[in-house]
Amino acid sequence: MHWVTRTFSHSSDKTKNKGHCNRLRQLCILAFGIIGALLFFNGCASVSIKNWYQDPGGIPSKHELNAVPFYPQKEYQCGPASLAMALAWSGLQIDPDDLTSQVYTPSLKGSLQPAMVTATRRHGRVAYPISGANALLKEIAAGHPVIVLQNLGFSWIPLWHYAVVIGYDLNEGAVTLHSGITNRKITSLRAFENTWARSDYWGLVILPPYRLPASANEIGYVAAIVGLEKSRQWGAAAQGYQTALNQWPKNFAAHIGLGNSLYRQGELQSAEKALRKTTDLFPNEGAAFNNLAQVLWEQGKNQEAKQAARHAVMLGGPLIKEYQKTLDEIQSDEP
């Protein structure tokens, strides 16, 4: 069994490959082992680790996080276990068993990536997907553990597995993982690259909303916070938008999102302040005036509300019907 997996993945890894998520599939792999080995020598020999990463600059040659607790997985439960480890690092102690219902799909004997993302959001944490070695190294160097999706089997008989990367050593050519039932599993870059490549280098950083991913880009990060808002985590969303604004002070979605999240929390005065700022910075965005109008109206400031709503309608745009509705509502409220 180990022979097949190890052969395919070029593994120089001495640890046992226990604790896969899809144990049943190992039987298939055994059955197809010989064919697979042939295909492997034929097809995968070209896999190389050159250019695995280009030095992202400014990171130490090795780093390991001590603050990530290890939870050994139960059968097929690498998703909940990995998520629990990352959440625990972010300050939320949650038993992996309690996460199972949120991420695990019994019929698939596994957890899919969207489920991992939504479960993270439902706990008020930012789920920021990353891709590639550079982003991975940057995050680890910044002290952020990264959940990675590996395929420990074949591309056509996948053995998908989640693990948490907690360290790397570029001199030794190794990464350190909390994986399966193994605490601090040291894996060669070569083996890791082979198994990670098959998920297109998918990784997930889980952070409290006041902390920015080291590899964050503006659109990706704001979208991640919109996801928090969609999960009705208003407080975390407001905090996340603030984090985004500290880094990208001119992002419209983050400005209006901050106002919207405060509004959803019932903090009308703070929402008004945030939305006023949004209208000041973006005087051509009708949506900001529309939302400001609503917030003013709910505070009984009808005159100001009407003025803002009129301005939104005047600015027009694809959402003009919504603006008109707001204006009509406010006007119908007149004594």
């Binding site: 698939l108 939504t118 808002e229 969609k230 979605a253 209006i256 949506a287 509705k325």
Partner: protein, 135 residues
């Protein structure tokens, strides 16, 4: 070959309907606040995806299936409109992935897998109530 093609078509129609009906929650008409997401520039991709799904729902065989389920085709269209860009793209991608021949079964399995996952998520969020084990 022809048989497979016919089947995959009717299957994709069925899948679209199933996914739309089961994954899209009824969204109460909220106050006049514009959602943050709506203010993000709507990607052309999301709009294309919505059109793809709608063009399938507009087919007569699709509409008759809808009616047989007691669903107003207009209501189904409205639900497509309330899909987020990402959701619309995901569903449209699934339809694309249902091939006319060869690996049809694989595509079907993937699609069914995704339906299960989305259901599980919406279930857990309280939008639907299909999988009792989540509660």
């Amino acid at each position: 070959m022809k048989l497979i093609r016919q089947r995959s078509k009717s299957t994709s129609v069925f899948l679209v309907i199933l996914m739309v009906l089961l994954t899209v929650p009824f969204q109460p008409v909220l106050a006049a606040m514009i959602e943050t997401e709506a203010t993000l520039a709507m990607s052309a991709k999301g709009q294309d995806a919505r059109n793809t799904i709608k063009s399938i729902l507009a087919r007569e065989d699709a509409q008759s299936v809808l009616r047989a389920q007691g669903i107003d085709p207009l209501e189904a269209m409205a639900r497509v409109d309330s899909l987020t860009d990402a959701e619309a793209v995901r569903i449209a991608d699934q339809i694309e992935e249902l091939p006319a021949g060869g690996n049809f079964l694989v595509g079907l399995l993937i699609a069914v897998g995704i339906i299960v996952v989305i259901l599980a998520i919406t279930d857990a969020l309280g939008y639907t109530d299909v999988f009792t084990f989540i509660r």
